[in-house]
């Protein structure tokens, strides 16, 4: 009996190991361990054994049964893994086929420049302010130290609605509005992006509507060296740390000393990018700040100009035609 069992075990091991697939393994299992299986049929002869032998043979039979089951299980796992691997092989795809066409949009390039500039100045402690696009002659010109007969105050050059109300020609009027709102409080540090309008024919370099960013800082003892520091920081962040910068004296009615700021382009030479200066004492005074106690600096930059230089855009009208073939080029901005 014991011999028979050992033979069964050895034979079974061979059968299990050579099973071709899961189905064959299942059949082997039934043949070995099923109700009518080989092991059962051997054990049927237990009755003929002496009572002394029975427990020994019984223990042996159980041990063999567990052994066979373990072998079958191990083989099953092996076969299943093989089948899975084979399955995966059939699922192979061409990874170079195009992806699902999921569209993304983009911020308008002018707005992208504004956001970039805002972030830079917020980092330097400036708040973002806004002002009306339809403005009074008073805030647009008078408060900014433009004399009554200044050419810009002519109907020919600006979009007037009434003799007292016009579309603002620059964002500078916000300087006066912010100062009046602050009522003499310092420090005042703001930038103001926004649309402005001039009575120009639209062409490659002119647009009757464009965008500016105004900046203003007022405090005790604001110096021109701070203005220089702020502008250099800004330019180096927008155009790169290596950008060569030139400050040139220039004239705007609302600053004194005044300047224009150029950056150097190896191909095009010096390019003007913004105007700036120390706030004119009359501007401070009109807005309720005693120029003997307070000084300030101001600057104004053209957003289109920055965008055109930064991205090499040659025609200002692109910004307002909104051709999607143009706009989509700025999706990564």
């Amino acid at each position: 009996m014991q011999k028979k069992l050992m033979e069964l075990k050895n034979l079974a091991e061979k059968k299990i190991q050579t099973a071709k697939d899961l189905q064959a393994l299942k059949e082997i299992r039934v043949a070995l361990l099923g109700k009518k299986g080989e092991l059962t049929s051997v054990l049927r002869g237990m009755g003929k054994l002496s009572p002394k032998e029975r427990p020994q043979i019984g223990a042996l039979a159980n041990k063999i049964r567990s052994q066979l089951e373990a072998w079958i299980e191990a083989k099953r796992e092996e076969l299943e893994e093989a089948k899975f691997v084979q399955q995966l092989a059939t699922e192979k795809i061409d990874v170079t086929l195009p992806g699902a066409p999921i569209t993304v949009g983009g911020v308008h390039p002018l707005q992208a420049v504004i956001e970039e500039v805002e972030d830079i100045f917020i980092g330097m402690g400036f708040e973002v302010a806004e002002g009306p696009e339809v403005e009074t002659d008073k805030f647009n010109f008078e408060m900014m130290n433009f004399l009554k007969d200044h050419p810009a105050r002519d109907m020919q050059d600006s979009f007037y609605i009434t003799p007292e109300i016009l579309l603002r020609t620059h964002t500078s009027g916000v300087q006066a509005r912010e100062m009046l709102a602050k009522q003499g409080e310092v420090p005042l540090r703001i930038i103001c992006p926004g649309k402005v309008y001039r009575r120009d024919q639209d062409d490659m370099t002119h647009s009757h509507q464009f965008m500016q960013i105004e900046g203003l800082a007022v405090d005790h003892n604001v110096t021109m060296s701070e203005l220089k520091g702020v502008l250099l920081t800004f330019i180096h962040k927008v155009f790169g740390e290596e950008t060569e910068v030139r400050l040139r004296p220039s004239f705007f009615p609302f600053v004194e000393p005044g300047m224009e700021v150029d950056i150097y382009d190896p191909q095009k030479g010096w390019l003007e990018i913004l105007g700036a200066g120390m706030v004119h004492p009359r501007v401070l005074e009109k807005a309720g700040y005693n120029p003997e106690r307070y000084t300030g600096f101001a600057f104004g930059l053209g957003v289109e100009r920055i965008a055109m230089l930064k991205y090499g855009i040659d025609d200002i009208r692109h910004f307002y035609n909104n051709d999607l073939r143009f706009l989509r080029q700025f999706q990564s901005v």
């Binding site: 699902a100 569209t103 330097m124 402690g125 540090r189 509507q209 060296s225 701070e226 220089k228 000084t295």
Partner: protein, 808 residues
């Protein structure tokens, strides 16, 4: 201002200072140099020749064979076709190998079998600018003056070696509208000595010619000087003077006119010469024109004036428009022998008004508009009188006659050293400051006790009026480059955006992530556009420009949508079909017919979708953009992102929208948005396929979003999902059903989601089937089947009772 380098060198030592150096340093110290150019136009090897003989060409009637001497003893045979060539003339001769403008090279040639050893040139062939030449000089070959030295390079004689520096002057620097003013600037920038011409007042020789000056409009003209000169010979100016005028961009006319222009460029003071014979009794009366008064100006045009025009008259007839242009009647012509010279101050505003009204702009008016230097009025007149005596042979016939109201004094400005240092942020030495004032020719002394500079500012620098103007002068000559750059001092501030600005930014980026592109359109539009789409402000009155440049841009927009439609059309016409765009911008609203106060500017968000929102892929389906529910999906995603939770949709039919496919979105009963399909008629007008649009009131949106956010604990007990399909009459809206479900289900209902809608014969006429998926969950226990069943039944009964729903 065009500055002749040769001319400038008369007034200031330019040794070692090239035009390029001037350009570089001027630009860095406040006067921008536009361009530098040489007047030679690429001309090379053209010399002065003398025509010794002219003979007819044997084979051609129109051609002549000339013998031209180009240096002692060297004769050239040149064939010439110009009718005006004649013996004894001095002419420009292009030698063999000469270069002319346009890359022309002169070669030895045969013209109709006769050898030609060069070319006699016309003004045009030398590239001389036509508008700088007299008419007769442009016909045929250019005949040079008798003083042209034979054999000399013609460029030398014609001033073509001169270099011209074009200055771009800011409005405050009108002092540099003169050669002397520029010389002062060169002196300051390069620390050079000036060499200004001496002027000596000339007295009448013999009997005084009558001259009287009356200023009736004192404010417009407080200062007028005149002098009479007899026996002048009007004729061409000497070449050197012509050359300088041409460099300055002024066409030579005759010696008298040329001298007035020359002195204007030299001193900045415009002068005018009247034919004295046409000034009745030598009377000058300066007065305002009468309404409709006519003046025939030098250019032969009859000008109709109004009371805002200042005239120079002889008491009876107008002699000219002050500061703008002289009159035809008193023009200096070749027959003039006696002149009255004018040098005056005219108010900038009155001149500007005349310039604008008459559309006349001249070198003279340009200077008067910017304010001339009263201290130069008399020296300029005297200088011109001297030059006329020298160059036009006149005799002075009257003493200098001046009528002047009031007086101008030098301005004295005190500059505090401490203020200078504090404003610039640099410790500048007092000695350096004084040195800069010296270079500027501004007499200054240091008051040691008060640490102040006391600076006398002459009238030539009318831009310097207050302390800070002097600080700029110091800074620019100290040079901005040398200023240190520093961080912001003082109390630190936290930079930030307002809540509204942050929300706008978030909207922008959310919509971009959802596949939309931002556009920026014009604020100005047409009244028709404003009427075509509903505005949030139906009461808005149009805000029209008083002088629009075109009807396309004549009023401010009251809605963003028409411009988005135009943008969509533009893109369609340029081959882009799939369009998903948005704009954040203002609309301008007033209820006033005529603005007396500023309109309110409402920030709005406009959205437009047409074509595919998501295009079809090889294994994915397209999502059509012109669909209300795609738009609604985008809006809901946006609202979720912003934290807008409470709002409802209500069917609406505003102007420009599809009447059955449009909703307004309400927040607390206030209208947040209009969204829907574009009215098919309007779509057709704009060549658009089905299109959906939306406008959102950004202020209300910002006010409505909840920035407070509190975490809610995750559910601990399982949910039970039950589906519910009901058949309801067509006009029952989904929102009503959902509200009914929520109300009946109470707090055990966690969510309800519509997953199917259909109608058709099997449902019955006028009915539709809606299928919802309901999720039930309790916070504190696992729901039993019985509990769920009870609630679900309650929902069904409630729908049956309230909206006549039938369970499917």
């Amino acid at each position: 201002m065009l500055v002749s380098y040769e001319w400038l060198s008369q007034y200031v030592d330019l040794t070692g200072i090239s035009p390029e150096k001037i350009a570089e340093e001027f630009t860095r110290t406040g006067i921008e140099v536009e361009v530098i150019y040489t007047r030679d136009n690429g001309v090379k090897n053209v010399v002065v020749g003398e025509v010794l003989a002219v003979e007819p060409h044997p084979d051609a009637d129109r051609l002549k064979v000339c013998s031209v001497m180009v240096k002692d003893g060297e004769l050239l045979q040149i064939v010439c076709g110009a009718p005006n060539v004649a013996e004894g003339q001095q002419v420009p001769v292009a030698l063999i190998g000469a270069r002319l403008p346009g890359g022309i090279k002169i070669k030895r040639s045969k013209i109709r079998k006769v050898e030609s050893q060069g070319m006699i040139c016309s003004a045009k062939e030398l590239g001389l600018p036509e508008k700088m030449m007299m008419k007769e000089d442009m016909e045929g070959i250019l005949v040079l003056g008798k003083d042209a030295p034979v054999g000399e390079d013609v460029k030398e004689y014609l001033g073509m070696n001169d270099q011209v520096i074009e200055l771009e002057l800011t409005p405050n620097r009108s002092d540099c509208l003169s050669m002397i003013g520029v010389a002062f600037e060169v002196g300051a920038v390069f620390d050079r000595e000036l060499n200004l011409p001496d002027v000596v007042e000339q007295k009448a020789k013999g009997k005084q010619a009558p001259i009287s000056i009356r200023l009736e409009a004192e404010e417009d003209c407080p200062f007028f000087a005149g002098q009479v000169i007899h026996n002048i010979k009007v004729g061409p100016s000497p070449q050197w003077l012509k050359n300088r005028l041409i460099s300055a961009g002024i066409r030579p006319i005759n010696n008298v006119v040329d001298i007035t222009n020359y002195v204007m460029i030299e001193t900045g003071q415009p002068l005018h010469a009247y034919d004295y014979g046409h000034v009745k009794n030598g009377n000058i009366v300066v007065r305002r024109a009468k309404e409709g008064e006519e003046v025939v100006t030098l250019d032969g045009v009859t000008r109709v004036c109004d009371q805002e025009t200042l005239l120079i008259t002889d008491g009876e007839n107008p002699l000219g428009i002050a500061g703008v242009m002289g009159g035809k009647s008193s023009e200096v012509t070749n027959y003039t022998t006696s002149i009255l010279l004018e040098s005056a101050f005219f108010d900038p505003v009155i001149v500007r008004k005349a310039v604008r009204k008459l559309g006349l702009r001249s070198e003279a008016s340009h200077r008067f508009e910017r304010g001339v230097d009263p201290e130069r009025i008399i020296p300029a007149l005297t200088r011109a009188v001297q030059l006329i005596q020298q160059l036009a042979g006149g005799t002075v016939a009257s003493d200098l006659t001046v009528e002047r109201i009031g007086d101008v004094e030098d301005v004295v400005i005190r500059l505090r050293h401490e203020r200078l240092v504090r404003l610039l942020g640099v410790e500048i030495e007092k000695e350096e400051v004084l040195n800069i004032f010296k270079r500027l020719n501004l007499p200054a002394e240091l008051d040691d006790e008060h640490e102040e500079y006391i600076v006398q500012v002459p009238t030539r620098r009318q831009d310097l009026t207050i302390e800070v103007d002097l600080i700029e002068e110091i800074a620019r000559l100290y040079r901005y480059d040398r200023l240190p750059s520093s961080l912001i001092y003082g109390q630190t501030t936290r930079g930030k955006r307002t809540k509204e600005q942050e929300i706008r930014r978030k909207i922008r980026h959310t919509l971009c992530s959802l596949g939309l592109n931002e556009v920026v359109t014009y604020s100005l539009t047409t009244p028709e556009n404003n009427r075509s789409m509903a505005s949030f402000h139906p009461e808005a009155k149009p805000i029209a420009l008083s002088m629009p440049m075109s009807s396309e841009r004549s009023v401010l927009r009251t809605t963003l949508l028409p411009q988005l439609l135009e943008t969509a059309r533009y893109n369609l016409h340029h081959g882009t079909q799939d369009i998903a765009i948005f704009e954040i911008g203002s609309t301008y609203i007033t209820t006033e017919k005529k603005l007396t106060q500023l309109p309110s500017e409402h920030l709005e968000l406009g959205i437009l979708l047409t074509g595919a929102y998501q295009p079809e892929g090889w294994n994915t389906q397209a999502v059509e953009g012109g669909d209300f529910f795609v738009l609604k999906g985008i809006l809901e995603a946006l609202f979720r992102k912003l934290g807008l939770r409470q709002y409802e949709y209500k069917a609406a039919a505003p102007t420009g929208f599809h009447p059955g496919r449009t909703a307004e979105i309400l927040v607390d009963g206030k209208r947040l948005a209009l969204c829907g399909q574009l009215h098919p008629k309007l779509a057709k007008e704009y060549d658009l396929n089905p299109t959906v649009v939306c406008q959102i009131d950004l202020q209300l949106l910002c006010d409505s979003v909840e920035s407070e956010l509190m975490y809610q604990s995750l559910p601990r007990y399982p949910a039970v999902t039950r589906d519910l399909a009901v058949i309801v009459p067509q006009d029952v809206i989904s929102q009503e059903l959902e509200a009914g479900i929520k109300e009946a289900a109470g707090e055990l209902l966690e969510s309800v989601r519509l997953f199917d809608v259909f109608s058709g014969k099997q449902i019955g006429e006028g009915k539709k089937n809606l299928a919802y998926s309901l999720v039930y969950r309790a916070k504190d226990r696992t729901l039993t089947d019985d509990e769920v069943q009870a609630v679900h039944q309650r929902v069904i009964r409630s729908l049956e009772e309230k909206v006549g729903a039938k369970l499917r």
